[in-house]
């Protein structure tokens, strides 16, 4: 009997050894390499904060790329990673309120019943004056430009209403006079990511080169030579020398405690669906061919503008470019007014002065102009501040400055972006920091970025066809969770190669894309 028990024991041991075992378990070769992830701090703007769908929300913030990175760092000694609290976003709506008054929109979703993006219905509960006075590992501040990171008072509640401070930073600045960089350094980082600089040019671009009034041209300080960012308008392009100087200060501060890190370049606007989704020739002939007034008006303008504006093409299947106002054009309003006054047409004669004012700097958009995403909802609609029949946006009412990044404006943006990126790479190289070339990666997205598992991602805006591969959120500028996973992967790969680390990447395809609700 005893023998039988022995045999049973041997049999049991045999079964236990039947458990499959790998020669190297999955995490066996993970390493931090030359980097020390004990305290990871991320500085940057909305892209670092986890901003998406036009806001920061409690749910969206979880997908910030620094948070994704930190989960990988934790495999090789990375410590706790904290992000600003959005516990007050109880309904996961996003948005912002200041003193109970809504100052930021709720997050965008696709309303399936309407087949369009809409702000989620509801009242935001993220209150700016709900001060946390805490330094976090994620110091991404939506809206921040390079020089804002070192600006005292950028987190002062009193400045929000005056446009002098940033509501997001106000919520967690340790003191009203604290700087973003100072709060970041209070964490004593051993490793950092720095992705700042996009807003130094992007706020100009997303506003179509206009100031906040939507009409007046914003300044390119590479042209003006203005070196004092304190005097810059919100949508101005930061002077490249100023940018390089501030960027150098930021990097030198971040590495002052011996930290290593990754810096990221500024993406080109031409790789962002906010600028590439709405076609310049958005007007189908079917829509304009029945508009006798427009046809007649264009025929008149073709003469009055000396050919700057062409007659509408009414052939079926063709499209007409939208009509835009280009502030860089010579103003020929008096010529147009004179033509109208002498046209013999009662309508034109009665409106001669108005016609001159409306079309004096009007032209057709071309393929070199970028019509911004929000314009899609106003093109073809009557403009409230105009008078019929010269009031249809993009048709008989030229699109205002803010709707279009013209070819000239685009060049300014491109030049500034190139200068910034040259500075970023140069400063990083001088300090032996890793560079995540997000500009190059975003440019690859234009033709299709093939990732490790064979999936091909593009920079397209959401559509039914792209639902499972879209990387951008509904604001057209910021990534969605899947896009942030792609970004995290690119940074992880840079860390692996530059710092001889071995960290696993993410499967972007498993991350959520666009939030679609049945009704809103």
């Amino acid at each position: 009997m005893k023998n039988k028990f022995i045999y049973l024991a041997i049999l049991a041991a045999g079964f236990a050894s039947c458990e499959p075992e790998f020669e190297n378990e999955v995490g066996a070769n993970y390493t931090s390499g030359d980097a020390d992830f004990t305290t990871y701090v991320a500085v940057g703007n909305s892209l670092t904060a986890g901003y998406m769908d036009g806001t920061v929300s409690r749910g969206g913030q979880a997908y910030s790329f620094p948070n994704l990175l930190a989960q990988r760092f934790a495999l090789v000694g990375g410590g706790e990673f904290t992000q600003p609290s959005y516990a007050d976003d109880v309904n996961n709506l996003g948005g912002l309120t200041l003193g109970g008054i809504q100052i930021g929109s709720t997050r965008l979703v696709i309303d399936y019943s309407q087949s369009r993006p809409e702000n989620l219905v509801g009242t935001p509960t993220i209150e700016v004056s709900n001060l946390q006075a805490t330094a976090y590992n994620n110091m991404g501040v939506p809206g921040a430009k390079s020089f804002h990171l070192v600006a005292s008072g950028y987190g002062n509640l009193a400045g929000v209403a005056l446009g002098q401070s940033n509501p997001y930073f106000v919520r967690h600045a340790t003191t009203p006079s604290a700087t973003v960089l100072g709060d970041a350094m209070s964490k004593n980082p051993t490793f950092f990511t720095n992705w700042i600089g996009a807003n130094d040019v992007l706020s100009y671009a997303t506003n179509g080169g206009a100031q906040s009034d939507g009409v007046t041209p914003a300044a390119d300080h590479n042209t003006t030579g203005n070196m004092n960012p304190a005097t810059y308008g919100g949508n101005d392009i930061t002077n490249s020398t100023v940018f390089a100087s501030v960027y150098s200060t930021i990097v030198n501060t971040l590495i002052s405690g011996g930290a290593k890190g990754v810096v990221a370049t500024v993406p080109s606007v031409t790789s962002i669906p906010y600028f590439t989704t709405v076609p310049y020739n958005a007007l189908p002939a079917e829509a304009t061919s029945s508009n006798a007034t427009a046809i007649a008006l264009y025929q008149f303008l073709a003469v009055a503008t000396g050919g700057r504006i062409s007659p509408l093409n009414t052939a079926a299947g063709t499209k007409n470019p939208v009509l835009i106002k280009d502030n860089d054009l010579t103003d020929i309003s008096s010529t147009i007014q004179a033509y109208a006054a002498g046209s013999g047409n009662p309508l034109l004669m009665a409106n001669a002065a108005a016609l001159g004012a409306i079309y004096g700097q009007a032209r057709h958009a071309t393929s070199n102009d970028l019509v911004v995403l929000p314009a899609s909802s106003i093109i073809g609609q009557p403009n409230a501040s105009a008078t019929a029949p010269f009031n249809i946006n993009g048709v008989t009412w030229p699109l205002a400055n803010k709707w279009v990044l013209t070819a000239n404006e685009k060049t300014k943006v491109a030049n500034a972006t190139a200068s910034y990126n040259a500075a970023i790479v140069s400063i990083a190289n001088a300090n032996d920091l890793a560079v995540a070339d997000m500009n190059a990666i975003m440019n690859q997205l234009i033709s299709g970025l093939r990732v490790e598992d064979g999936t091909i991602y593009t920079a397209n805006y959401f559509s039914a066809a792209t639902a499972s591969t879209v990387l951008f959120s509904l604001d057209g500028v910021h990534p969605n969770p899947r896009g942030y996973a792609v970004i995290a992967n690119e940074i992880l790969k840079v860390i692996n190669s530059h710092y001889n680390a071995n960290l696993p990447i993410y499967t972007a395809a498993n991350f959520p894309g666009i939030n679609i609700v049945p009704t809103n």
């Binding site: 079964f15 039947c18 458990e19 499959p20 075992e21 790998f22 020669e23 190297n24 378990e25 999955v26 995490g27 066996a28 070769n29 993970y30 990988r72 495999l75 399936y112 490790e452 598992d453 064979g454 999936t455 091909i456 499972s468 899947r482 696993p504 990447i505 993410y506 499967t507 395809a509 498993n510 991350f511 959520p512 894309g513 679609i516 609700v517 049945p518």
Partner: protein
């Protein structure tokens, strides 16, 4: 075991699925213990499966063999590039019932009931490969009446029709990201029961001397045709309505040719050698057609290749009470590189078998067997996911199976 694996399954594309399964070579305790040789072995009623032509050589007028196994199949999966880990542990219970009856010196009739396909794979729901398979359960029972005819002193033929009855249940996520509003991944289950199909088996046995037997057996391909099976979407996004549909799919159970010999070195010691060729190349694709025209049919390349299994077994009759058996085989996987899907995570394997019979009396014997199937760790991928991606990783499987049965005859 011949291939614990082999059949396969499906992955669906777009929003579909169907299943394949395993060829489970556990068709008798005595023969399993001998490396699952048997096309030229006349030991018991198990020969009704291995080569019906041999039934006529059984000494007793009536022979019955009944047995079953616990089949434990464990597979681990990992991918260090993504930090993935997953595991599937499954238990199957293949069984067999064989009976023969000697009508006269020239004719023996037999009946075989066995489960050559079955078992299951069950990964964690929503695991990293959930767009290919969450779980699959394929079952098939073969019922095979047979006749064995002696043609002269040294030669016999045998065969019979096979009625296959099967069912399949397969679940996978519809893609790699779609969820409902609670974040639960959308998945699809397809299920079909009571699928029946016919095939046949035929072979011969030649005994040129008292010591040498030579056998050949052929089992035909059987096409399992699932028609109007149920397809059910789960956790479908709230903004849409889950489509209602049925599905049709065909799954081939491939033809198999076996040749072999056995040689009786002494009265007590016998060795057997079998070679199997499974015609897996018939399994090009797993296509699941949805009856709802709004759904994209699922096309899943499989591209299996014909595969061979090499078996050797031996038997030593120690005394009147005890007979010992051992065996070994090499089992080649029909799955080609780049088509390695987690529904059938099996590469080439080596089987080690052993067992014994305790003869209680002249009529009744008790058979036990044990199989250990060794798989090398393998890096492979499935490169034909419908969304254009590839699913890659390292797999390591272990399979073992203890079994018990009785042999009765008079």
């Amino acid at each position: 075991m011949r291939k614990l694996l082999s059949l396969t399954l499906l992955a669906l594309a777009g929003s579909t699925a169907f299943a394949g399964g395993y060829r489970v070579s556990i068709q008798g305790q005595k023969q399993l213990a001998m490396g699952h040789t048997g096309v030229a072995v006349v030991n018991s009623a198990e020969v009704a499966f291995f080569n019906p032509a041999g039934m006529v050589y059984l000494d007793k007028k009536f022979n019955l063999s009944v047995g079953g196994n616990g089949l434990f199949a464990n597979t681990k999966f990992q991918n260090s590039q993504y930090g993935w880990e997953a595991e599937t542990k499954n238990v199957g219970t293949p069984f067999s019932i064989y009976a023969t009856y000697k009508l006269n010196d020239w004719f023996t009739a037999g009946l075989a009931v066995y489960t050559p396909y079955g078992s299951a794979v069950e990964w964690d729901q929503d695991w990293q490969g959930s767009h290919l398979v969450n779980n699959i359960d394929l079952q098939a029972i073969f019922v095979q009446p047979s006749l064995s005819i002696r043609v002269g002193e040294h030669f016999s033929v045998g065969g019979g029709p096979i009625l296959a009855t099967g069912s399949v249940n397969f679940n996978r996520n519809v893609d790699r990201s779609t969820t409902n509003s609670q974040g639960e991944r959308t998945d699809l289950t397809i299920e079909s029961k009571g699928i029946t199909a016919w095939g046949y088996t035929a072979g011969f046995m030649f005994n040129p001397t008292d010591k040498l037997r030579i056998g050949m057996n052929y089992r035909s391909e059987i096409m399992m045709e699932a028609r109007d099976g149920d397809a059910t979407f789960n956790d479908y996004p709230e903004f849409g309505t889950a489509p209602t549909t049925k599905f049709n799919a065909d799954l081939p159970l491939p033809a198999e040719l076996t040749v072999g010999l056995s040689y009786k070195f002494t009265d007590k010691f016998l060795m057997a050698f079998d070679y199997n060729r499974a015609m897996w190349s018939v399994y090009k694709n797993l296509d699941v057609d949805f009856t709802n025209p709004d759904l994209v049919d699922s096309h899943n390349p499989r591209n299996y290749k014909n595969s061979s299994t090499y078996r050797v077994g031996m038997q030593y009759a120690a005394n009147n009470k005890f007979t010992f058996r051992a065996g070994w085989y090499f089992d080649e996987s029909p799955v080609q590189d780049g088509y390695f899907a987690p529904e059938t995570p099996r590469n080439d394997s080596m089987g080690y078998t052993g067992g014994l019979t305790y003869q209680v009396n002249s009529k009744l014997g008790i058979d036990v067997s044990f199989l250990y199937l060794h798989f090398d760790e393998v890096d492979n991928s499935y490169d034909y996911v419908s969304d254009g991606s590839s699913f890659e990783g390292t797999y390591k499987s272990v399979v073992f199976s203890p079994g018990i049965g009785i042999t009765y005859g008079f």
